[in-house]
């Protein structure tokens, strides 16, 4: 599996200049209060990982990967591990940036707020990618873009409608419970989703004809 992870990181590294410019741009926007710094995380990790799928598809890597020892399984596993590592690394970067911003502005560092916001973004980023990957394995990255757009659109509409229709004042006990155990419940849900997503992707990839 590490060989496949090295490949993904080597492909990302090949675009290091663009990645560096984007990081500097986001850092600048964050420092100057033009943008919430935590938004770097979902955007950058999705862009970086999708670019690896793009390279794979464009160069017909997946067919070759199927000829390598345990190639199909390791290929899928590597994408999930690489995703987790990238999201984690960008989270560290974002935390560092948030601390620098607080320090330069001489404001009191609100650790709970910083970690809470970045933690929430971390979870939602993993969630989005867990939804996307089986679709990419099923349709390929080119066709998956449309499918992902439709799915995200449907989820957004459904979520928006639910928020409008449901009166959360009836569920005060539930929301209190969730907010109390959020640090345990949400990471657990995300890990389960990630695992479920990996299993589905693996099933698709092992049966796929190239």
């Amino acid at each position: 599996m590490w060989g496949f992870i090295k490949k993904d990181f080597a492909m990302i590294k090949s675009n290091w200049l663009i990645v560096l410019i984007l990081f500097i741009l986001y850092a600048y926007l964050g420092l100057t209060d033009k943008m919430e710094i935590s938004f770097i995380l979902p955007f950058m990790s999705v862009v970086l990982m999708l670019s690896t799928f793009n390279y794979d598809e464009f160069n017909k890597w997946d067919a070759y990967a199927a000829t390598l020892p345990n190639g199909r399984k390791n290929g899928v596993r590597a994408k999930y591990v690489a995703t987790f590592l990238i999201v984690f690394l960008i989270s560290l970067f974002t935390i560092a940036m948030a601390l620098i911003i607080a320090y330069t502005k001489s404001t009191t560092i609100d650790y709970v707020n910083i970690f809470g916001l970045i933690g929430a973004t971390f979870i939602s980023t993993i969630l989005v990618q867990s939804l996307m990957y089986p679709i990419i394995y099923m349709f390929g990255i080119t066709k998956a873009r449309i499918a992902i757009f439709v799915i995200v659109f449907v989820i957004a509409i459904a979520g928006g409608m639910l928020l409008k229709l449901i009166d959360f004042s009836h569920f005060t006990k539930v929301t209190a419970f969730l907010s109390h155990y959020a640090l345990i419940i949400f990471p657990l849900i995300v890990l389960l989703l990630l695992y479920g997503s990996y299993k589905i992707s693996l099933k698709i990839a092992t049966k796929k004809n190239f």
Binding site: K7, M11, K60, Y64, A66, L68, N70
Partner: protein
């Protein structure tokens, strides 16, 4: 192990193409040339052998092991070059080395570097700057650098100039010096196959129409060129296919010796694999 590769009754159906009961065996220590026109089923057969396609019927054994149930063990011991380029072009040869080091347990870094030097391939340049021939050479170096027992090569010499082709052919010949090693080689460069192949397997429209030793084909098969009048005198059972040219007839015969004993006047030419392919595909009976 008598046969390193056994393909038995391989069937695969597409909307516009069918692979029908493809069967052949590659004895250990031999090179098999796999020939046929474009779209005949060579790549599909190779993809099935390598499990790149999975929904086929039939049985494929590599090194005595079923290819579906022993995937990892088999793939540790085979080297592959596919028809299409497959390395992400933003990578460098040094990246390929790092990647493969973690994929193959028997990856030989020194051997890989030696091949790169031999092929004049730069370590630190992105693959996208390589010519088609250079990319093929990198793929061949990668296929060889983990000491595989079986090489499965789909058009490995396409895009190579004659000098590079000769270089690669020599490498294949050296590879086969180890009697445990074998090569299945699909190629349109039939002159190369005449030099190195021990066996020829010919596929046409998804079916194997000939699988024999190269010597048997080149020594026993032949082309008879004759006039229309001479052609009328030849019995149909004495030739396999014929082709009407502008001024003469070309006949594919399978037993040069017995034909010579029966008919004395016709011109009998030595056959090449190109001639064989053309007459088998375009010829009639």
């Amino acid at each position: 192990m008598k046969n390193i590769l056994e393909v038995k009754n391989l069937n695969k159906k597409y909307a516009d193409f069918t692979l029908k009961n493809v069967s052949f065996t590659l004895p250990t220590g031999m090179i098999m040339g796999f020939i046929g026109e474009n779209g005949a089923g060579k790549t599909t057969t190779i993809k099935a052998i390598l499990n790149i396609i999975t929904d086929y019927t039939g049985e494929i054994n590599i090194m005595g092991l079923n290819n579906k149930t022993n995937d990892q063990k088999i793939k540790e011991n085979i080297g592959v070059v596919l028809d299409d380029m497959f390395f992400p072009e933003v990578l460098k040869a040094q990246d390929i080395n790092q990647i493969m080091k973690s994929i193959y347990t028997s990856w030989d870094e020194e051997l890989f570097q030696n091949y790169l030097k031999q092929f004049n391939l730069p370590l630190k340049k992105a693959i996208k700057t390589f010519s088609k021939g250079m990319r093929k050479k990198l793929e061949i170096a990668t296929a060889l650098a983990h000491h595989p027992q079986l090489l499965i090569l789909d058009e490995p010499t396409s895009g190579l100039d004659p000098v590079a082709r000769a270089e690669v052919i020599e490498i294949f010949q050296n590879f086969i010096q180890n009697e445990k090693c074998s090569i299945l080689l699909s190629s349109h460069q039939t002159t190369d196959l005449e030099h190195i192949a021990d066996y020829i397997t010919f596929i046409n429209k998804g079916q194997i129409i000939l699988s024999a030793t190269c010597d048997e084909i080149l020594n026993h098969y032949a082309i008879v060129r004759c006039t229309a009048a001479e052609f009328k005198k030849i019995k149909p059972e004495d030739y396999l296919k014929y082709r009407q040219e502008k001024y003469n007839y070309e006949l594919l015969i399978t037993n040069k010796k017995s034909f010579k004993q029966k008919y004395t006047t016709e011109v009998i030419d030595k056959i090449t694999l190109d001639d064989l392919m053309v007459l088998m595909i375009k010829g009639v009976k």
